[in-house]
Symmetry: C2
Subunit: 341 residues, 2 copies
């Protein structure tokens, strides 16, 4: 049986496109069953409501291609219908502002994943541009994690400091996600942003506690950058599988498209600086074998050629994320009932 005949559920654990139909068509062509999309980095509560309003219209106008998923079952059903399941997420807890109650409110609106912070320090935690020792804050940070655990919102730490990642694992009663990052040890220090990647110790701890890491082909955090070959990417998958097995590795491309270049400054500096602290050099050139999500089959076929079994590929392509999402998106009380049953 060929790969295309088996059609493993493919989940991309992070994309941050300007949301528009061209992207949804690429997902269809690439056979992507589910994408975790970013609604907010620096947007506050009110601004995020506007973004959700825009998605409401997009979901209505593109219901032949996409639908919102708020449970694992939604993801399977939507993907089985030949469409792409959209999972809402934040790359920073900015939409929660300083209000513990806003977590449940955004959950009610469909948000299922939130990264504690994006690159810098906020009220909750600290990002990878800050000093290593900066972790989850003792009060609001721990409260936010407990509340996310309670309502059923998955904690993401992709852009956080090492200390924040370990703190989040410690304080979270449920497995957490690194939706989009690579192993530091594999990528190597030639890559300027390797600090954004994750230590071997952390990836092991993440796996021990039931978490999943989504490996990314975003040039800025890949070995050899834009020149990274598919073989090197597959080497990274194999390296990570050798470290933690096939149950804790997934895909999280960090793909983005459709933005004007001015958007980069928003990502790098938000409103908190007049200029980016990191020089802005334009958008990265994606590798030849992944120009867009249309090219996902290159990765799946590559894994097959490497000798991964169909079951293993199914886990890496989406099964591991599906399990974490199916369990993680359910409120804690329901999860306990389910376990007891």
């Amino acid at each position: 049986m060929t790969l295309s005949a088996r059609k493993p559920l493919l989940i991309d654990a992070l994309q941050y496109n300007k949301p528009e139909r061209a992207r949804f068509e690429e997902w269809k062509r690439g056979g992507v069953g589910c994408v975790h999309v970013t609604l907010s980095i620096w947007e506050n509560a009110r601004e995020t409501l506007t973004v959700i309003g825009e998605w409401n219209r997009l979901l209505e106008q593109n219901d032949d291609l996409i639908a919102l998923a708020t449970t694992g079952e939604d993801i399977e059903r939507i993907a089985a219908s030949g469409r792409t399941a959209v999972v809402y997420g934040f790359q920073d807890t900015s939409p929660f502002e300083d209000d513990i109650e806003l977590i449940e409110i955004f959950y009610q609106l469909g948000v299922r994943i939130a990264q504690l912070t994006y690159n810098v320090q906020n009220r909750v935690a600290s990002g990878c541009w800050e000093p290593d020792e900066a972790g989850v804050s003792k009060f609001f940070g721990r409260n936010v994690i407990a509340e996310m655990n309670r309502v059923g919102m998955v904690v993401d730490v992709s852009h956080c400091t090492e200390r924040t990642c370990f703190d989040a694992i410690e304080y979270s009663s449920r497995p957490i996600a690194v939706t989009h990052a690579n192993p530091q040890e594999f990528v190597g220090t030639d890559i300027e942003l390797n600090r954004r990647n994750k230590s071997t110790a952390l990836i092991k701890r993440l796996a021990e506690t039931g978490g999943v890491i989504g490996l990314s082909n975003y040039p800025k955090i890949m070995k050899n950058g834009s020149d990274c070959t598919l073989d090197t990417f597959l080497d990274m998958v194999s390296w990570t599988v050798d470290l933690v097995g096939t149950d804790h590795v997934g895909l999280g491309t960090d793909f983005y498209d459709g933005w004007p270049e001015s958007q980069i400054k928003w990502w790098r500096a938000g409103r908190w600086a007049r200029e980016s602290a990191i020089p802005i050099k334009g958008f990265s050139k994606w590798p030849s074998w992944f120009q867009s999500p249309v090219d996902f089959p290159n990765i799946l076929e590559g894994l097959e050629k490497r000798g991964f079994s169909g079951e293993e590929i199914a886990r890496i392509a989406g099964g591991n994320w599906l399990k974490l999402f199916r369990e993680g998106f359910v409120p804690a009380a329901s999860a306990r009932t389910a376990n007891a049953a």
Copy 2:
């Protein structure tokens, strides 16, 4: 010449009352020439605009007793007219949200002092309930200090971690304020909240860099709490003067009145927790010799009996704050011009 005849300018570097005429009358009776009032702890930008709107009405309706001061000259002029000069301040950078531009906007509205954070971690810095090593954040935190320096807003670190205090002194190009705190070494560890007070090393560094500390008779951070005698308070003034001289010591009572007890939960937990992390035991009982600002003469007469000269009392009572405010409230460009002239 008696003290009352000399009438030193009296500046209280922090009060956080529910703003109402009864307080302004107490200020008048106590001979208080200037009070730094708190407009916001957890209030965001929009909510703080409402608070400023309320003050606009209060200033209009009570112009026989109070007036807004935005310069050192305003303070002197208003106090000389027998009224109390009101200086606007924040006890947290919450009103700036994540926006570097909001600092200038609140400056335009009259705000002249902002504490970097109140007890916990925010985007800018870390408060005294957090781990000691948490400091000023590398990006937004340093940007906020630089912008406050530029526009002429004084940095206050009363409730911040030791590391945040030292960081703020390092990154600020202008002297900073500890508007309301006491020396840890003098108060001693019998007091539960002594962590809120300041180390000897920090007070020395503050003074070396032109800063001022406002000593407080707030029972929670005083030796012997509510039973602290006037003599003990005066001992603390003498102790601090022995450490850094008379040029860097002022008064900052942390007095508050007029709030319902429910307000305590707002101060302790804001919206960021459903319950206070610190048990709420009701309002503190103020010491017998300072039931309200009406009793300020007790402190001034006490200082005189201790043998402080009229000049020294004038510095401690308000002269040191006046100097810091006169220089600190002026935009950096003007300050440079003034120095060059």
